[in-house]
């Protein structure tokens, strides 16, 4: 059954497009499939993968963005993870750092736990939520041409983007999950490990 807001895009193709030629982009991935998608594009020390802390991805992105105003920060997460941290959409809008963007891979399901419907599959439009919270730039992508445009905008603008992906599950790609290792190598890559 097709749910409201259900998309058709291949999540791996979407994330590979968003992270093509990543340059010095700093990436935070929300737990679950978003972490697998980001890892599958190629492990980099400036990828910070979440394996827990559900609801925290956007706030981690905010802390990095405030600490590193000259670097671009991109949070890539799923609809369930973003919904758990829905208040952080308002917290980010209130700060509005110019170097932070959020991309929500919206499959309208809790994919990790048996594909139960999430709120986006029951009608919640997270891009509209973000606009109502005060984000000036929001977008929803339904096809790969729009994802291509988002790839550039997410590296330039303070943008909250929702990408309607297919609920199809992908083979799991498991990036490193030792948090101390991930944090230490991220800080070393930024040259702040001795702070």
């Amino acid at each position: 059954m097709t749910l409201p807001n259900e998309g058709t895009l291949d999540r791996r193709e979407v994330v590979a497009t968003l992270l093509r030629d990543p340059g010095d982009l700093l990436v935070v991935s929300g737990l679950g499939a978003a972490t697998y998608d980001v890892g599958a594009t190629g492990d980099r020390p400036t990828n910070f993968y979440l394996w827990g802390a559900m609801g925290g991805a956007a706030m981690i992105g905010l802390g990095i963005a405030l600490a590193q105003p000259r670097r671009r920060v991109l949070v890539i997460t799923g609809d369930g993870e973003m919904l758990m941290g829905i208040g952080s959409i308002a917290t980010l809008a209130a700060q509005a750092p110019a170097n932070l963007a959020v991309a929500v891979l919206d499959n309208t399901r809790f994919g990790e736990t048996g594909s139960q419907r999430s709120h986006t599959g029951l009608g919640t439009d997270l891009a509209a939520v973000a606009a109502a919270c005060g984000w000036h730039q929001t977008a929803t992508a339904l096809d790969m041409a729009e994802v291509e445009l988002l790839r550039d905008r997410l590296r330039r603008e303070s943008l909250f983007a929702v990408i309607r992906i297919s609920p199809e599950e992908k083979p799991r790609f498991l990036p490193p999950r030792d948090g101390a290792y991930l944090a230490d190598r991220f800080r070393r890559a930024l040259g702040v490990a001795d702070g």
Binding site: A53, G56, I60, G63, L66, Q68, G87, A94, A183, F186
Partner: protein, 172 residues
């Protein structure tokens, strides 16, 4: 509102610990810290919708090479528990200042359960808990606890007792 000097001492201790991001859910007992943070051009003051956002903010700050503190009241501690897995797993510092409710002379019974549970809940979740009961001890307690958190990269909470807060701020 006038603020006792111990609160200025607490802010000075945060500055001395090189804290540059403060996430907060307001409490009257923290009003001075919040005002001071907003007035300080070298401090990023981030108002939160719920307290666990501040743990994730602090993790991001640390990843980016800065130090953060979370300011909340004891009722917010209950909102934080799962997110505390983040600093513990990542061996990051976490530093929070908690004003206690539900203890000394509390008039609101809804504050009592979480206030009573706060020290135990934090300890069970892996946070080192310190307590400031007297105004003259508060700045030094904050300074020493911040050093513990940031130098040892562990989660540390300083509880400001309601007697300390109430005696100084909630005067009618």
């Amino acid at each position: 509102m006038t603020h006792p000097t111990w609160q200025a001492g607490v802010y000075a201790a945060l500055k001395a610990a090189r804290v540059t991001q403060i996430g907060y859910v307001p409490d009257a007992g923290h009003a001075h810290l919040i005002e001071a943070a907003h007035a300080d051009p070298d401090m990023q003051a981030v108002v939160l919708t719920t307290e666990e956002e501040g743990i994730a903010l602090a993790a991001g700050a640390w990843l980016g090479g800065q130090r953060a503190a979370l300011i909340m009241q004891s009722s917010g501690v209950g909102n934080c528990i799962n997110m505390l897995s983040l600093p513990l797993n990542c061996r990051m510092p976490f530093f929070t200042l908690v004003t206690m409710r539900g203890e000394w002379g509390e008039f609101n019974p809804w504050q009592v359960p979480m206030g009573a549970a706060t020290p135990g809940v934090l300890k069970e979740a892996g946070v080192h808990v310190r307590r400031a009961d007297r105004p003259e001890d508060a700045p030094e307690m904050v300074a020493a606890s911040a050093a513990l958190a940031f130098d040892s990269q562990i989660p540390v909470a300083v509880l400001f007792s309601q007697r300390l807060i109430g005696a100084k701020v909630f005067v009618k």
